[in-house]
């Protein structure tokens, strides 16, 4: 019998599987794609399990889902410390300096992330209704993520940050001064995000453009160019100009439907 290919992460699954072993996406449901080409991130079923390295992740709940990790011997995950929901007493954790501390503090970004090492259990959630977005990263991938959206990443992923270029972005774009950048080397990695509300993904062709409210931007391939563009609109009591993030392909763009709108009233 043919193996089943996951339409979200392209992972291969044995016949009869109902959810992807690599990312947890349901395999027995049709993709939900809008007429405009946005694909909904798969809604992970309550108690779905998937594996990465020697570890497993079980997704619990639906409205504000929890990612419970059973870390295998030697496996590590890193995360912002305030997303920890609970852990086994004996699961070791350590602080890891990401570098660029002062600049990241100015940008409201964590400059210390916490690392948990297996064996042991540890669970994570953010603080608002939304979806867990499971993004298995193939070797040699680069993904940019909006600040404070990442829930956890496997320890073999290189974590850095990029400054959003252009003064307009810093002052008006609303995406913050920095974005997290996750890069895999020769090995695959596992990245989990929390998107507020519903999450949609679209793959832009080379040169294809789309305008996104900066607060709705969730992630993008690093090949997608992002710049703030001013609209011919005046908003709010001070008549601010309105800026949108112009995304230019090629590559994937992920957005969230519940977002923080910046610099307008």
């Amino acid at each position: 019998m043919d193996r089943i290919e996951c339409q979200w992460c392209r992972g291969q699954n044995p016949p009869g599987s109902v959810s992807c072993l690599t990312c947890g996406a349901p395999l027995d449901e049709r993709n939900r794609v809008s007429d405009s080409g946005w694909r909904e991130a798969p809604r992970l079923r309550d108690m779905t399990e998937f594996r990465f390295f020697n570890s497993t992740c079980q997704v619990e709940g639906e409205l504000v889902p929890v990612a419970e990790i059973n870390l295998g011997q030697g496996d590590t995950v890193f995360f912002e410390h305030h997303v920890m929901l609970w852990k086994d007493e004996h699961t070791p954790i350590a602080a890891l300096n990401t570098g660029g501390g002062f600049k990241r503090v100015l940008g409201g970004m964590p400059f210390v992330v916490t690392v948990a090492q297996g064996p042991g259990r540890i669970a994570f959630s953010r603080d608002s209704p939304g979806e867990l977005v499971v993004l298995p990263l193939h070797p040699g991938m680069e993904l940019d993520v909006r600040e404070h959206a990442f829930l956890l990443a496997s320890g073999n992923i290189d974590y850095s940050f990029v400054r959003i270029k252009g003064l307009a972005n810093v002052l008006h774009g609303g995406g913050g001064m920095f974005m997290d950048r996750f890069v895999t080397g020769g090995q695959p990695g596992m990245l989990l995000l929390h998107g507020y509300g519903n999450v949609f993904e679209r793959t832009l062709r080379p040169g294809e453009r789309i305008l996104v409210e900066p607060g709705g931007y969730l992630y993008k391939d690093s090949t997608v160019q992002m710049q703030a563009v001013q609209q011919k609109l005046r908003t709010g009591r001070l008549r601010h100009g309105m800026y949108l993030a112009e995304m230019t392909g090629p590559g994937r763009v992920g957005i969230q439907s519940m977002y923080v709108h910046h610099h307008s009233e």
Binding site: D35, S36, N198, I210, L211, G216, S257, M258, E265
Partner: protein, 295 residues
């Protein structure tokens, strides 16, 4: 169902197509039983993910379930208007322009948008609000008007007229420098009406949405911030309720008072399940027309 009886959607109350997966006028599912409480509230079912609604030559698609997105595919001369802060994404080809509103100073003081954005096709424009809840689509027949609580408006088609009125529900606490006027359901209410042709009005309702028809003279007390919309035939005013208390705390009855909105039929009212209670900190010194009850 008989072939001679036209199907009417029980949610938008317009003639609809019973063979479609969802009502083409309002997106409500047609294949579900009415969910009605013993008290008569009918739950507005969430619009199914990816449901399509036709208006003019354009299409609206509702995407997502927790915080749904209204994705407009605008064609020809069709256009919509909305407050800029609900814009999620747009095609670069779509045109966005300002649409000014009158009463700027008062609206600014009330925290309401001063300027609406007019979006024209061809192209896609997608909108979403910032709360988990429902998108409620109300097709308005020619001449039909409806009152909506402020900040619940998501978008309307270009042929829907928009006006607003001061809230008839307020009360004052304190005196002198501490005097404060409270508007438990906001300073203004929005009124929408279909002008020359039928139109489409979209609201965002945090939490779940429930609809009920009040008979002539039937009354109901609701939390002021829970009211989503009402027919203009439904009247409303302030209602103050004081629980029975005695002994040490009887002189602070205002601390336990309930500030209600009293609705009187006939007409349709809708409430949302997420709301904020009015503050109960100080005695009320004056108020808009109100009924009261002391237990």
């Amino acid at each position: 169902m008989t072939g001679a009886t036209p199907y009417v959607c029980r949610y938008c109350r317009q003639h609809s197509d019973p063979t479609a997966p969802s009502c083409p006028r309002c997106g409500a599912p047609v294949d579900v039983r009415a969910s009605v409480s013993r008290s008569g509230w009918q739950k507005q079912p969430p619009i199914k993910d990816m449901a399509r609604i036709q208006f003019g030559r354009s299409t609206l698609q509702i995407e997502g379930a927790y915080v749904p997105v209204a994705d407009f595919a605008l064609a020809g001369d069709d256009y919509i208007y909305f407050s800029h802060h609900v814009l999620l994404w747009t095609d670069p080809e779509a045109t966005l322009t300002n649409m000014s509103l009158s009463g700027g100073w008062s609206r600014m003081m009330a925290g309401l948008p001063l300027i609406m954005v007019e979006g024209r096709g061809p192209g896609h424009i997608a909108l979403s609000d910032n709360h988990a809840g429902d998108i409620v689509v109300l097709p308005l027949e020619h001449g039909q008007r409806i009152w909506v609580r402020e900040h619940r408006f998501l978008a309307a088609t270009g042929n829907v007229e928009y006006t607003w009125e001061s809230s008839p529900v307020w009360y004052v606490t304190g005196s002198g420098d501490d005097r404060e006027t409270h508007y438990p359901m906001g300073m203004f209410g929005d009124i929408f009406g279909a002008r020359d042709a039928p139109g489409l009005l979209l609201l965002h309702s945090p939490g779940n949405t429930f609809v009920r028809d009040l008979r002539p003279g039937e009354t109901l007390l609701v939390q002021p911030t829970a009211l989503l919309y009402r027919d203009l035939s439904v009247t409303m005013h302030l209602h103050l309720e004081y629980p029975h208390s005695q002994g040490l705390f009887s002189w602070r009855r205002y601390s336990y008072r309930s500030v209600w909105l009293r609705l009187a039929g006939p007409g349709r009212v809708a409430v949302q399940s997420v709301y904020q209670r009015p503050e109960d900190a100080e005695p009320i010194t004056s108020h808009s027309y109100a009924t009261s009850r002391s237990w």
